[in-house]
């Protein structure tokens, strides 16, 4: 944008491009060129930075100037990564120096550490951070100051705080506004940023027609219930818990002695299944992936192959309606202007009968699901069920050799006739 003012403001500093992935925010529209301010004495000739011994070496490149603050957070993190410790660090900085020297560097460091301390979605934490800015100093006093960027580094830093809030979807509140006005004044870039956020965020708050509970339930059965109703998209679909997990542990990493089985089926699907020709097998297929926010879950479906054309078409019975004709005996079609549907190329699919989520995606568990389904769908006991399973998430976690052998097992189409087996 305008590196001019940046240069003008950077007294005694040298500009050096930092292309590390952590500075991607700098490439945001607010700052077209990726610059990073490095102090003159800390300048090294190459683009490599010397890492301090004891760095956990996750590849982060940390400018040396920031290192003392880095240390503060690192030490605090050792005591425990929580909001309290994070706040302690911020407080410690505030108490250190009445002039709040180097507060911009501190805020940048603090912003980067928010994720580590798990406060990246905490409004208080951001307000707390904004409070670090000295108040009143950066408020422009006359129109010339207002016209040019007054204290550009500080304003940029303020914008960065708001930007990070935006990234995590945190809506500022009145306190944020109050702080921004005290720090930067009304006609400043952070205040404008605040206004823009407050314009768009409320509009987007309910934009998702299919909202998820926040936070997502931790209980896998609850999660399965949410996910299944979400995919089914039919309000009359009924969720059935065929088997509860035993022992009741919430940690998904541990194998349950008895994995949970949660299934969903709508009355329409039941009807479809009842009309299904028992001579044709039905298939259990999966796992398919479903993302809920940052959680990935897997589901399985019970479906049939694509039906031949003549079975798909519904014939209107002339003797069905006692009162009015269901079709007219006319040789006239719909005009071109009244076609309200678009030409959509549809993927031809067979009927889908039910879906489920299970604690363990092996055939034995899924077979239990089918047995459970037989109670409401008696026709399943006369139909052969083919298990067509792909390697699931569990397999991927196993050691390569074991995973491979299991994969091979699963990839064979395991046929099992459930007709003889009773629930």
């Amino acid at each position: 944008m305008n590196s001019m003012w940046l240069l003008a403001a950077a007294r005694g500093t040298l500009w050096r491009a930092a292309l590390g992935r952590d500075y991607t925010w700098l490439q945001s529209p607010g700052c077209v060129q990726a610059f990073w301010t490095g102090p003159l004495r800390g300048c090294s000739s190459g683009s490599k930075l010397t890492l301090r011994p004891g760095d956990d070496g996750d590849g982060e490149q940390i400018p040396r100037e920031l290192v003392p603050f880095e240390n503060m957070f690192r030490q605090a993190a050792q005591q425990g990564r929580s909001k309290a410790t994070w706040c302690q660090v911020v407080e410690a900085f505030q108490n250190r120096d009445v002039r709040r020297r180097e507060h911009v560097e501190f805020i940048y460091t603090a912003l980067r550490h928010m994720v580590i301390f798990g406060v990246e979605r905490d409004l208080d934490a951001y307000n707390c951070l904004l409070d670090v800015f000295p108040q009143g100093v950066f408020v422009p006093q006359n129109y010339i100051q207002r016209m040019f960027h007054h204290y550009p580094r500080q304003q940029l830093c303020g914008i960065q705080v708001l930007e990070q809030m935006e990234t995590y979807g945190i809506m500022p509140d009145q306190k944020t506004r109050f702080l921004l006005l005290k720090i930067f004044g009304e006609q400043s870039h952070p205040a404008y940023k605040y206004q823009r956020i407050m314009y768009w965020f409320p509009k987007f708050k309910h934009i998702n027609p299919y909202p998820l509970p926040d936070p997502l339930p931790r209980d896998p059965v609850d999660l399965a219930r949410h996910s299944l109703t979400r995919i089914a998209a039919d309000a009359s679909a009924r969720v059935t818990i065929y088997q509860m997990p035993l022992p009741e542990q919430e940690d998904p990493g541990i194998d349950h002695a008895q994995p949970y089985i949660v299934g969903i089926q709508s009355p329409d699907q039941q009807e479809l299944l009842a009309r299904h020709n028992p001579a044709q097998p039905v298939l259990v297929e999966g796992p398919f992936r479903l993302w809920l926010k940052t959680t990935c879950v897997y589901y399985y479906i019970l479906h049939a192959e694509l039906l031949p054309k003549e079975q798909q078409e519904e014939v209107i019975d002339l003797e069905q309606s006692f009162y009015y004709p269901l079709q007219l005996d006319l040789d006239l079609d719909r005009g071109i202007w009244d076609k309200e549907t678009f030409d959509v190329e549809k993927v031809e699919e067979g009927p889908l009968f039910a879906m489920c989520m299970v604690g363990a995606g092996d055939q034995a568990t899924l077979a239990k699901w089918i047995v459970g389904l037989q109670e409401t769908n008696p026709i399943l006991s006369q139909t052969s069920v083919i298990f067509h399973l792909r390697p699931g998430p569990q397999e991927l976690q196993l050691a390569p050799s074991a995973a491979k052998s299991r994969e091979e097992e699963e990839e064979e189409e395991a046929q099992a006739r459930w007709g003889t087996r009773e629930a």
Binding site: F322, Y323, Y324, L328, L330, D333, G335, E340
Partner: protein, 611 residues
């Protein structure tokens, strides 16, 4: 007593005039509106009945009215949810259980007109009206219109005398309009002599009282090509056949005195000779019964409204508020005008239709009957509600009968085919008729034959710059009295433009119009108005011409109604000419779709905040 009197009085009359007609060939009737032509034949002049018939009705009506005023305690019937046996006996003695059964089977052999007239009196007690209607307009109608002579001779005499009561068993759990919901089965026995009936029927009027049931059940039919099909067959089932059980009477909102319950059949043996019509022909029988069963509903509504006008007028003229009588307030006067207009219109339509059904040529008037049913049931509901409003809080009290009228009249919108089912019926019957005739023309248009399209648009252009519609109803050679000239012209204009709209709709939607229910509703509403306008204008013309008492009042009512209907029709026609984005149909559908998706009201609370 009165029955014998009546017999004697009727002996001189030609029997043919009163015979019940069974064959129902399709007549054009109100379908003509869909082609943009007015109804004339059989409508102008308003049909009349002979002096003898009139005398006969008046003789018969007297005792019935007296009975209803003196011996029927509607409040008690409503409270106890039961018609007392002595009241039923009284009805039987009056011969009211066999009004339309021919005389040779012991009935009164009345025409539809006379039946409609009596219906006006029955309606004084809705429970009795429903009981009688379930018995004779649907319960035994199957035997009357499709039964063999043996069946008639066997069952009709006892049904006519009221010794046996009939019920009509069609509806099953699921949907009453959908034949697919019929799951009751009749299986032919091995010796081929009887059917075994199994299944249950719900909401059967008279189900607990009836001895004779008209039952519809599925039977297996082997087609000519050898395939086995399930088809519906109608049976006459006597309670004496055994295996028939009733559920307990349903507790209802209104018509509480009528008996409604479930009827279960379990291995009921029905002899083969008790099949009505052919085996597998039950659907036809059901259609015929249902389409002809609505004659009395219009006149019943009139009966209720007339009674309410009397009661409310009495109250409005005596009660004072701010030192003024209620009747001096404009808003109260408006309600009386509304009730009177509605009563007048329904009366005109109902009797015109009934007379048309009796008229020569045994016409099928199911379309007209459906229109009367829809219009009268809705008008009746509005009038009862307005009448209750005149009484204010008093009307809301159980001590007064108005709330009972309100509850009772609600059923009119529902039974005998809900109005939502009848509207598409009305519209589609006409569309089918018009479509057959217009197909060629529309095809030419669609093939983009330039001269044809040009003439069409030229015609429309001429219309738009002020064409005078003249369909020959008014003027020197017209059939409408000059005092009704304005209404007549409005009717002509509506009919003409409606015809054009229908053609446009057929061009646009073709046979897929079946799925456009919002359009069908508007079409049906227009046709109903057109028919109502025609009926009132015709009746008022006759009244002026022969100088009936208060015919000036009739002219007022007619003009009032026609003007209102004219504007409503114009609005509907304008909407039909537009595409669904413009006439809000697509928005209506969208709203419904979004609500139904969530199955709840979806808007946020007005004070909800997002920040």
């Amino acid at each position: 007593m009165s029955r014998h009197l009546l017999r004697a009085a009727r002996a001189a009359l030609p029997a043919g005039a009163r015979q019940l007609r069974t064959a129902v060939p399709r007549r054009r009737g109100a379908c003509d509106f869909f082609l943009g032509t007015p109804l004339k034949e059989g409508v102008f002049p308003y049909p009349e009945i002979t002096n003898e018939e009139l005398k006969e009705i008046n003789q018969f009506v007297g005792p019935v009215e007296k009975f209803f005023h003196e011996e029927v305690d509607s409040k008690k019937i409503d409270q106890d949810a039961k018609i007392p046996p002595e009241t039923l006996r009284g009805l039987k003695n009056l011969g009211l259980f066999g009004i339309q059964i021919p005389e040779e089977y012991g009935g009164l052999g009345f025409s539809n007109t006379m039946y409609a007239y009596l219906g006006e009196i029955f309606s004084l007690d809705a429970s009795i009206a429903v009981t009688l209607a379930a018995h004779q307009t649907i319960g035994l109608k199957g035997i009357l219109i499709a039964g063999t002579d043996e069946q008639k001779a066997k069952y009709l005499p006892k049904l006519a005398s009221g010794e046996h009561i009939a019920a009509f068993c069609l509806t099953e759990t699921g949907s009453g309009n959908d034949a697919a919901s019929i799951q009751t089965r009749a299986k032919l026995s091995e010796d081929g002599k009887y059917f075994l009936l199994n299944g249950s029927k719900v909401w059967i009027s008279n189900g607990g009282l009836a001895d004779i049931f008209t039952v519809f059940a599925r039977t297996e039919i082997v087609d000519e090509d050898g395939t086995v099909k399930d088809k519906i067959t109608a049976f006459i089932v006597e309670r004496a056949f055994g295996g028939i059980m009733n559920g307990k009477p349903e507790d209802k909102l209104g018509i509480r005195g009528s008996n409604t319950c479930e009827v279960h059949f379990e291995n009921t043996k029905v002899p083969v000779e008790n099949v009505i019509g052919e085996v597998g022909g039950g659907f036809e029988v059901a259609m015929k019964i249902l389409s002809n069963s609505r004659i009395s509903m219009g006149s019943a509504s009139v009966g209720i409204i007339k009674k309410l006008i009397e009661m409310t007028a009495e109250y409005a003229c005596t009660r004072k508020q701010f030192n003024k009588k209620l009747s001096d307030f404009g808003l109260i006067q408006e309600k009386f005008a509304l009730m009177t207009v509605k009563a007048y219109v329904i009366e005109s339509m109902a009797y015109l239709t009934a007379r048309m059904m009796d008229g020569p040529g045994l016409p099928d008037c199911s379309l007209e009957a459906a229109m009367v049913k829809v219009f009268s049931s809705e008008a009746c509901w509005i009038c009862v509600s307005e009448a209750l409003q005149i009484f204010g809080a008093l009307g809301y009290m159980k001590d007064y009968p108005y709330e009972r009228y309100l509850r009772d009249s609600r059923i009119l919108l529902i039974f005998e085919g809900t109005n939502e089912v009848l509207r598409p019926y009305i519209a589609l019957m006409g569309m089918q008729y018009a479509g057959k005739i217009l197909t060629e023309r529309i095809k030419e248009f669609k093939q983009r034959k330039v001269p044809f399209i040009l003439t069409t648009f030229l015609g429309q252009f001429q219309d738009s710059i002020g064409r005078k519609v003249d369909l020959g109803l008014v003027g020197d050679k017209g059939v409408i009295h000059p005092s009704l000239e304005e209404s007549g012209k409005q009717l002509e204009e509506n009919i003409y433009y409606f015809g054009q709209v229908v053609e446009g709709l057929l061009r646009r939607f073709g046979k897929t119009i079946v799925d456009e229910q919002l359009i069908l509703k508007k079409v049906a509403d227009i046709v109903i108005h057109l028919y109502a306008m025609t009926a009132t204008i015709s009746r008022a013309s006759r009244s002026i011409s022969i100088g009936l008492r208060n015919h000036d009042h009739e002219v007022l009512l007619t003009n009032l109604f026609c003007k209102e209907a004219f504007f409503k029709n114009n609005y509907a026609i304008a909407e039909l000419e537009k595409y669904s984005e413009e006439n809000m149909d697509s928005s209506i559908k969208k709203v419904a779709r979004q609500v139904l998706e969530k199955r709840a009201y979806t808007c946020s609370y007005p004070f909800d905040r997002t920040f």
